[in-house]
């Protein structure tokens, strides 16, 4: 259910317009990196939803995974470390006809940028935010991240992490995200479903992805997750039950759930911002020509 865009220069019908595909830039990730599956899932999800590439903006921050917008043919904004979300919100409010997808890593989203994430979720801005969560800082060559587990040895924690990890799924549930899912780079088909449904979701869709770093995280590997993940869809989980979603989000150990934790339909920020009812802001008239009566209030 992609939204239509009132673009001023549309000369072709939407069905003739190109859909998002690969760009000319080849991914720069390490061979075997989990992020290859994530970019593939976003590409396949957008193809499934048949959203013209002109109407898609992929926003990222800084980190290995944040290079993602370069590898697809949509519009993109590759911004600052930790600021993926506010740029994405700004794009969305500037033109809410666009499909806006935020991408990035666990450091970007849950470390330096976590403040923005919480507020975007409670606002229920219609965005899809896909985190490539590898539980380590990769681009800076292997330091602890907010999702590194207790005891994990990294360059910044040579004797092991002594902080509790942040749980992105529980955080999202507590913050008011209206679509909360977790995927695994080892299951692209499942991940594509989660991303596609997230993009189609009317509200803030959060998809945390176990996307292993093959270079700097020797604990949370593909094998680690393959042995542990199970799908909520096959476990009788009811995604409309917030309490059950919280329960599932706390599971970590021999069995780790992936899939859709929670989904609910609520008014989005854009629904409630009355100014946007007149159409995308970018195409609304502006200025004060002929509004001299406005000056009366200063008398």
């Amino acid at each position: 259910m992609a939204e239509s865009v009132a673009a001023p220069i549309v000369s072709q019908s939407a069905t003739q317009l190109p859909i998002v595909g690969k760009s000319e830039v080849r991914p720069t990730w390490c061979p075997g990196c989990g992020d290859y599956s994530v970019v593939a899932s976003i590409e396949m999800a957008l193809k499934r939803l048949k959203i013209p590439s002109k109407d898609v903006v992929i926003v990222s921050g800084i980190g290995c995974s944040s290079n993602l917008p370069h590898f697809l043919s949509s519009y993109g904004f590759h911004g600052l470390h930790g600021r993926t979300i506010p740029v994405a919100e700004g794009v969305r409010w500037g033109n809410h006809g666009l499909t806006v997808i935020g991408t990035g890593g666990d450091g970007d989203g849950f470390g330096i940028g976590v403040g923005h994430l919480i507020h975007a979720m409670r606002r229920n801005v219609k965005l899809t935010y896909v985190t490539m969560d590898n539980q380590v800082y990769g681009l800076t060559t292997g330091q602890a991240s907010p999702t590194s587990r207790m005891g994990q040895k990294t360059k910044s924690t040579p004797t092991g992490v002594i902080e509790n990890p942040l749980d992105p799924v529980s955080l999202a549930l507590a913050s008011g995200a209206t679509y909360v899912a977790r995927g695994f780079s080892g299951d692209v088909k499942h991940l594509t479903d989660l991303v596609a449904n997230g993009i189609a979701h009317k509200g803030f869709a959060f998809v945390d992805v176990f996307s292993p770093c093959v270079t700097y995280n020797k604990v949370n590997t593909f094998d680690f997750f393959r042995q542990r993940v199970y799908k909520l869809e096959s476990a009788g989980h009811d995604p409309s039950d917030l309490g059950a979603a919280f329960q599932r989000s706390l599971e970590w150990g021999d069995k780790i759930p992936i899939g859709l934790f929670y989904s609910v339909e609520k008014p989005t920020y854009e629904d409630l911002e009355e100014v946007l009812a007149a159409g995308p802001l970018a195409y609304q008239p502006s200025g004060l020509k002929g509004r001299e009566k406005l000056l009366d209030e200063f008398v």
Binding site: V10, K54, G90, H119
Partner: protein, 579 residues
């Protein structure tokens, strides 16, 4: 030129600003030029606050040095402010609140005891109504007709329920008539002079200017003294079709503004120095990604939290150096509300045309003081060229095309065939990232050099297009004041005083602080004789900038960093030393 000033003082929470604004607005509606200064502290209740309303037949540019009527809601007000009353001035007070004997003040002053509490009790048990009685007495003494003050009170309380308006009308009339029985109106009182004037703060002028210049998205986190920009636009959001977003912090403010601008709307954010400091990384990204954005810094006295409700021009260096690395920017500094309105529109125009941040630097004094404005000075008809100027073509679109001006054709998401990535990393003309696998190889080194030069070339255009320095006063005066921002008002009034003393001076002021065109600036200084810099900071930041950009030295400086605005008499005294 006849002028009269009223000062009202009391405790925070007493309604001092409301009293003061009622008086200021009444003068303005009488067609007088008004300057209204609200001096307060960073608390909601308690602490000494005061309001100064200066009215004149001719233009006044600042709060001035004196007052004629002091309405004191507490004894502290008399102790602090009676000394600024001119001979023949009057202190209005309620003896039920505190005793005051003629011997407590200068023998050249009059006392007018008014039973404001007693009047209020006729109507309600709410003691706040005493203010209406005080306003009435003050209005009589200040020559404000009763119907003018009644209309102002009706307009301010009209939204409130029940008897509030009736009580205010009644109590103010009682106060007015009480004063009438006690003596004549103040000899300096001015009669109605012409059509009503507008009365606006610098912040309101900026908000209005942004709306007129096509701003569709204002994002801001509350911080004194920038907050009222958001208040004005929020109040008019629906009517004007402008989205006003209160962000979670200033990091979000600048990044949201950049996102919305990337999507194709004109955007603005505003804060004071502390919030601006948080925006600096984002600003650099806007410079790098070539996204227009207008950012207002309404400076207050720093460093750090500093004096939140006091004024200073200490943020100039912050704005000049904001952000890592080098990127093109312009810094504009309006000196009064009319210029704040116009320069805000200029800021939007320059930001759009040069696709880079334009910073507007004000201070507490300009942001919050109210000044009279003639309706004709505000032209709402500001041209807003369409942002959609790039047609899709068969060639691969180069968002960062290297051009002579440094400005590249700009496209927006939603436009077919123009897909691109905007980015904070160094990039080639297509928006391809050269920071990662390509950095350091010869082709990428060449790209880096070329793109730096492309972006920084915009400074040349900005220096030509941004408003040049303005010379006010006689060209051949023996002393030239050099100033920017709100102190310009006090300088203008000081020049009038010096003129009356037979001393000719002029003023060279800088609506654009950066970039300066060195040739233009040097040619303007070529005709000056002695100079005196008037700047509201400790180190003379503008003098450093001017020397760095033009080689011109300003050896004589009057620097102020006590949190208070410049007063004309202070500038006159310093000028006489220099002359």
């Amino acid at each position: 030129m006849k002028e009269l000033a009223v000062r009202v003082g009391g405790q925070a929470g007493d309604g001092i600003a409301s009293i003061g604004e009622s008086i200021a607005r009444s003068f303005s509606r009488m067609g007088l030029h008004v300057f209204g200064l609200n001096a307060y502290q960073s608390v909601i209740r308690g602490g000494h606050v005061w309001y100064h309303a200066r009215a004149s037949e001719g233009k006044v540019h600042c709060q001035g040095d004196t007052a004629d009527i002091l309405y004191a809601l507490d004894r502290q007000t008399v102790d602090v402010h009676a000394s600024i009353l001119r001979p023949g001035g009057t202190v209005i007070f309620d003896p039920e609140k505190f005793p005051l004997a003629p011997t407590d003040v200068s023998s050249e002053l009059h006392l007018l005891p008014v039973p404001t509490l007693e009047i209020a009790r006729k109507y309600t048990s709410q003691s706040i109504l005493q203010n209406a009685a005080g306003i009435g007495a003050t209005a009589f003494l200040a020559g404000i007709p009763l119907d003018v003050i009644h209309q102002v009170l009706t307009d301010s309380f009209g939204r409130k329920a029940g008897d509030v308006v009736t009580w205010n009308i009644g109590a103010s009339a009682d106060g007015y008539r009480f004063a009438e029985t006690k003596g004549p109106i103040h000899p300096k009182a001015i009669a109605k002079k012409g059509p009503p004037k507008l009365l606006m703060t610098g912040n309101q002028a900026i908000a209005l200017g942004a709306a007129a210049a096509g701003c569709k998205f204002l994002v801001q986190y509350p911080m004194t003294p920038a907050t009222s920009i958001m208040h004005w636009l929020a109040a008019h959001s629906r009517a004007l079709g402008i989205v006003v977003k209160q962000s979670e912090d200033e990091l979000a403010s600048i990044n949201m503004a950049i996102g919305a601008s990337f999507a194709g709307v004109r955007t603005m954010t505003a804060s004071s120095g502390g919030g601006f400091a948080l925006m600096t990384e984002g600003l650099g990204m806007a410079g790098m990604a070539e996204v227009p954005v207008v950012v207002v810094d309404a400076a207050r006295a720093g460093p750090s939290t500093g004096l939140p409700t006091k004024t200073e021009q200490g943020d100039l260096n912050l704005l000049l150096g904001a952000g890592q690395g080098e990127w093109p920017r312009a810094v504009l500094a309006p000196s009064d509300p009319v210029e704040a309105y116009r320069l805000t529109a200029v800021a939007f125009d320059l930001a759009e045309r040069f696709q880079t941040p334009v910073l507007v630097l004000t201070d507490f004094h300009l942001a919050e003081a109210m000044e009279g404005v003639d309706r004709e000075e505000i032209d709402l008809n500001i041209p807003i060229p369409s942002l959609f100027t790039v047609a899709p073509d068969s060639h691969r679109y180069r968002r960062y095309l290297d051009t002579e001006s440094g400005v590249s054709p700009r496209a927006f998401p939603g436009q077919p065939g123009l897909n691109h990535i905007a980015l904070s990393d160094e990039h080639d003309e297509y928006g391809g990232d050269v920071s990662d696998i390509r950095a350091g190889i010869p082709a990428a080194i060449a790209v880096r050099k070329k793109m730096m030069e492309k972006r920084m070339r915009k400074l040349k255009g900005l220096a030509k297009e941004a408003p040049p320095p303005v010379l006010e006063g006689p060209a051949d005066a023996p002393l030239t004041f050099v100033a920017w921002g709100s102190p310009v008002g006090a300088v203008r009034d000081a020049m009038t005083i010096l003129h009356e003393k037979g001393k000719a001076t002029n003023l060279l002021r800088f609506p654009t602080l950066y970039p300066l065109d060195p040739d233009v600036v040097r040619s303007m200084f070529a005709r000056t004789r002695k100079t005196l810099l008037i700047e509201g900071n400790f180190s003379g930041q503008f003098a450093h900038l001017l020397r760095a950009e033009t080689g011109i030295e300003l050896p004589q400086k009057f620097l102020k960093y006590d949190g208070e605005p410049f007063y004309p008499h202070q500038i006159v005294a310093r000028a006489q030393e220099v002359l």
